[in-house]
């Protein structure tokens, strides 16, 4: 079973990336992927007029219950409102985790607002997907401080360091057992092989970052890493499923 651990949908009027869930589900079909974790591009809570990004994701998951799970993409800078929204998402709406994109909201990843929000996620055993690329606030050595501040939280480094910081991401994951690396967008199959060799196949998670990044191409990238058998199965689906099984909404 292939599970895409990082994909997007978006319905914000005027957004340059307007991606309905039907588009993502069609690409999952094309790639032979059974399920995807979806989130918006915008952070909630926010000032979006009548548009509610959390409800958009919840509605998509209701429409495609066998295909989509939701992550709440939140802005920790909203303080208690973000923490309460996460509690509602996981406790009432069936969301499976938290997505953070520190480059978007421009906060240090180990600042008090973020640490508090991540600790809420950890209290539910909900995984936290972090954008981990080449930009300020998101590089692996910056996220390392969050991993150490919240050792009880499960952190998934989306893009596993981007174009230029994969080796740092592998080093951070080696140092922090609560860190997993996620493969989307990063263009080097051999870096996936290197991560599996260094960390073991149970610490690497497949994702596409679709629909912008093509899920079929992203699956091929993992296959080009030379993984086979149980290691390939783990990366393509079993690892993220194991993390989601730990979820305990109160």
């Amino acid at each position: 079973m292939i599970v895409d651990a990082h994909a997007h949908i978006e319905g914000l009027p005027g957004c340059s990336w307007l991606d309905p869930p039907e588009l993502m589900v069609g690409l999952l079909d094309e790639a032979g992927i059974e399920r995807a974790i979806v989130m918006t591009y915008v952070d909630a809570p926010g000032d979006f007029g009548a548009y509610d990004p959390i409800e958009y994701v919840a509605a998509a998951c209701r429409k495609f219950p066998a295909r989509l799970w939701g992550f709440a993409r939140l802005d920790p800078g909203r303080g208690a409102a973000a923490r309460e929204l996460l509690a509602r998402c996981v406790g009432e709406l069936g969301f499976k985790g938290l997505k953070l994109h520190p480059f978007g909201y421009r906060l240090s990843p180990d600042g008090p607002e973020t640490v508090e929000l991540v600790r809420v996620a950890a209290s539910y055993k909900a995984p936290v997907l972090l954008h981990c690329g080449d930009e300020d606030y998101t590089r692996p050595l910056e996220l390392l401080r969050l991993a150490k501040a919240c050792p009880e939280a499960t952190l998934v480094f989306g893009h596993m360091g981007g174009y230029f910081h994969v080796r740092d991401a592998i080093a951070v994951a080696r140092e922090c057992p609560n860190v997993f690396l996620e493969t989307s967008g990063m263009p080097y199959p051999e870096r996936i092989a290197e991560a599996v060799k260094e960390l073991g196949p149970e610490r690497v998670i497949f994702a596409s970052d679709g629909p912008g990044c093509d899920p079929r191409l992203e699956v091929l990238k993992v296959e080009r890493a030379g993984l086979t058998g149980s290691a390939l199965d783990r990366v393509l689906g079993e690892n993220i499923l194991e993390l989601l099984e730990k979820l305990s909404p109160r």
Binding site: E135, H159, G185, P187, C213, L217
Partner: protein, 253 residues
């Protein structure tokens, strides 16, 4: 579908590894790549002239499979101009000029670049430039350069943006929209839908497949254009048609 790979580095690299001719040919056979544009990596000895000679001889020996571009370091000033002039003229002239602002350490729009581009302009040869690198070849910097040479065709690698957050996509889009003398090369590009969307905006005839092997995986990069959600005609242009036009290679050759 066959293809032309517009961007391959052949030889040993200062940064480790490298791709040999025999291995490249094996990969081309397997992937049905009919031709490759071959370019020197930054060699362990830092000296580009012998590498250009080696690749010029390779293209002369195997014109059915290889086309060679000349790589120069503009910081070598008069020496770079002389090398470009030598490579781009005469019998067996190389097919274009290659510039790598990141590896050679110059800003794409630094005046030091102009004399070597002027050589390509006089020779009526395209210039390929490694795009998207922070501080040296971000899309606005490349736009500044290409705007100074509107009669030179510039092939901008990686779609002019190497950024996994998508924040560089807007400036890259403007580069190609505002400068019709640019061609978008696809290696390692963030978001396949950027290629798909740009095909709708600038036309498939200004998009060319390049793998930037061995830095990027040649098969993955080829599938990037072959699996694009565009028409068969557009995918053919990405994979081969645009390259043929740029290189002056017709379908019978």
């Amino acid at each position: 579908m066959s293809a032309i790979d517009f961007h391959v580095h052949v030889g040993a690299s200062l940064y480790g590894g490298g791709l040999g001719v025999a291995e490249l040919l094996r990969r081309m056979e397997r992937l049905e790549i009919e031709r490759a544009v071959v370019i020197a990596p930054k060699p362990p000895g830092y000296c580009l002239e012998p590498e250009n000679r080696r690749l010029r001889e390779l293209a002369e020996a195997r014109p059915d499979r290889f086309v060679a571009f000349c790589r120069v370091d503009p910081w070598q000033r008069e020496r770079a101009v002389a090398e470009a002039a030598s490579c781009l003229a005469g019998a067996g002239a190389m097919a274009g000029l290659f510039l790598h602002p990141w590896e050679e350490g110059f800003a794409a729009n630094d005046p030091v670049v102009d004399p070597v581009v002027e050589v390509a302009r006089r020779a009526r040869k395209p210039v390929m430039i490694a795009g998207g690198h922070a501080r040296v070849s971000l899309a606005p910097q490349v736009a500044d350069l290409v705007g100074r040479f509107p009669d030179v065709t510039f092939v901008v690698t990686s779609g002019g943006q190497i950024n996994i957050s998508g924040v560089a996509l807007g400036e890259a889009r403007r580069l190609f929209l505002e400068h019709p003398n640019t061609v978008l090369e696809t290696s390692g590009i963030y978001r396949l839908d950027f290629i798909e969307d740009m095909a709708g905006e600038i036309g498939a005839s200004r998009i060319v497949f390049g793998s930037d092997a061995p830095r990027f995986d040649q098969e993955l990069e080829l599938r990037r254009v072959q699996w694009a959600h565009r028409s068969d005609e557009d995918r053919e242009a990405f994979a081969r048609g645009t390259a043929r036009r740029l290189l002056g290679v017709d379908s019978s050759q």
